[in-house]
């Protein structure tokens, strides 16, 4: 039995169903991210786990205990909010101590735990500061320490890095993951940032229109997207409409270019997809399928250059590494691209 069990969870506001038949089993110590665009139901699901929203249907169990009748303050769930939500009238140390004081812990225990948590988040000397005296990143660290101080069963993070600038986000996500691993706390992390989800999570739940479209490890989600939405939302994919010529061998025609995927495919028309990094400019060993196209767009991204080439009716995106000796092809140039047919992904609806 999983540590956190969510079964057939649904939430409706009037006639609008925002979460539909959501099921998830999270193991103890696991880090699971809910990934999806705004309005997909990820925060609502998180808030139902926290107890801030009441499910219309379904059950939430933590360590076998049904949460339905428990108020948010009885669930022992730590929560970190996007807006930090530090108590402005309390110092950093008082903020971290808040939950412990509510729990009636002794002064000695509180002091020790506060010092330990401030050490954990790397701010041992800022205990006497007020939230307004801290940067955004520091405030979010304090919010994390405050949530962890009470030793919650589950930690919920609701887009905790969204309000921070890019550099802080990258460093803080590493810190959050390190602390989570160190404490071994079961964590659910809500984000719309795929990079965050891919880099931090043990598993990702990709949500779309209230439904968990796909649940899997970051590797599975990125390399084997099961739906068109997941394929489009996670990473960059070029979708190619293809006609299956031989279902047994997976022989297909993509706008006149034939390729064999080497695996069984359904009959008729299918949607295939390919990641930009799976396509090479010019011939490449192991990438047997070659196509010719015209460059329509060049994006310089620093270490990587993303190009788009018109091939038949489709526009194929591909990446090359930046090199000061070899400038990228210009818009309008004819190029030969190569890819391995096995890298073509079959996309379901």
């Amino acid at each position: 039995m999983a540590f956190l069990d969510i079964e057939h969870l649904e939430k409706s506001y009037g006639a609008t169903k925002v979460v539909k038949d959501f099921n998830l089993a999270v193991d103890k110590g696991e880090f699971v991210s809910f990934l999806g665009p705004s309005g997909c139901g990820k925060t609502t699901t998180l808030r139902m786990v926290a107890g801030f929203e009441t499910p219309s249907v379904g059950a939430i169990r933590i360590d076998g205990r049904d949460m339905a009748r428990l108020r948010p303050n009885q669930r022992n769930i730590g929560m970190v909010f996007q807006a930090y939500a530090l108590f402005p009238n309390l110092t950093v140390a008082q903020n971290v101590a808040f939950g412990l004081k509510v729990a009636g812990e002794s002064r000695k225990v509180i002091d020790e735990r506060v010092a330990e948590m401030l050490e954990t988040i790397g701010l041992p000397d800022l205990g006497n500061r007020y939230p307004f005296q801290l940067s955004g990143g520091q405030q979010q660290r304090v919010a994390l320490a405050r949530a962890l101080a009470v030793r919650p069963q589950v930690l919920l993070l609701d887009e905790p890095l969204s309000a921070l600038d890019a550099k802080i986000r990258v460093s803080l996500r590493g810190e959050i993951r390190a602390i989570q691993k160190k404490l071994g706390i079961t964590t659910i992390y809500v984000t719309h940032d795929q990079e965050e989800a891919l880099s931090m999570s043990d598993r990702i739940v990709v949500m779309h229109q209230g439904i968990a479209d796909q649940v899997g490890t970051p590797f599975e989600i990125y390399n084997r997207p099961r739906t068109r939405f997941v394929a489009n939302f996670v990473g960059t994919l070029t979708l190619l409409e293809a006609e299956v010529l031989d279902p047994a061998s997976g022989h297909v025609s993509i706008g006149g270019v034939e390729a064999t995927l080497g695996r069984r495919l359904p009959k008729g028309a299918v949607t295939l997809a390919v990641r930009p990094e799976m396509v090479s400019l010019g011939p490449a060993p192991g990438r047997e399928t070659e196509v010719t196209g015209r460059i329509v767009d060049v994006d310089f991204l620093g270490s990587v250059i993303r190009l788009r080439a018109q091939i038949g009716q489709s526009v194929l995106a591909f990446d090359t590494f930046n090199s000061s000796d070899a400038p990228p092809p210009k818009v309008g140039a004819m190029v030969t691209l190569s890819l391995a047919a096995r890298d073509l992904l079959l996309i379901g609806e």
């Binding site: 303050n73 530090l86 009238n89 007020y130 949530a147 009470v150 919920l156």
Partner: protein
Amino acid sequence: MKRLFAWATLIFGMGYFILPLVGLTEFSLSMRRGEYSFDAYAAVLADPRFRETFSYSVVMALLTIVFGVLLVVPTAYWVRLKLPGLRPYVEFVTLLPLVIPAIVIVFGYIRLYNTSSWLPLTGSLTGTNLLLMFGYATLSLPYMYRAVDTGLRTIDVATLTEAAQSLGAGWVTILARVIMPNVLVAVLSGAFVTFAIVIGEFTLAALLNRPAFGPYLQLMGANRAYEPMALAVIAFGITWACMGLIQLVTRFSKHTKAAR
């Protein structure tokens, strides 16, 4: 030209407000013929009725503030948190004392709570004092509610509440340790306005026949020349002291420094 006009308006405005006060103060100091003195103030302060009525009004003001805070803070908080749709209606209700004269309110009280009614509050001193305090709380409601509501607007009530809940806090703890300290400046503003209103209020206290400072002011004004002026200056000083205190608490509130 624009600058000149602005200065002229300012001087006219200040003259309009300050000249009567200067005249009032000057007259209150003129009790002794031919020279300025504090005789009127000494006479007022020596009057035992002044001490009685003033201390009665101070106690009533403090009780009104406590009652007002206990009534308004949870109400404004709950409306903002759970019933935002009701906000316009609650605001309307809290503004009613501005358009319903105190005399109407007190006659309503007397009619409802007289000795032959189902709740004869006017039948005892404690009951009448209680009624007077409710009346004061009603009169100060527009100011207290507005002050607290403005204070609540400056904090993210919903998220702070949820953060406190996730840390195990119940409603009382949230109100006492999270919401109240963060709207303290606003509460104090409302409290000082309430204090100023109660100290000078006449109608409710006179018609409920309670020994408050307002009726004493009126009594002095009807029978003496210089003492009422001294009392008016004192009452005015109290009001201004309250306003000054509002400024002070705002300035010295530690955790709101960042907001300014």
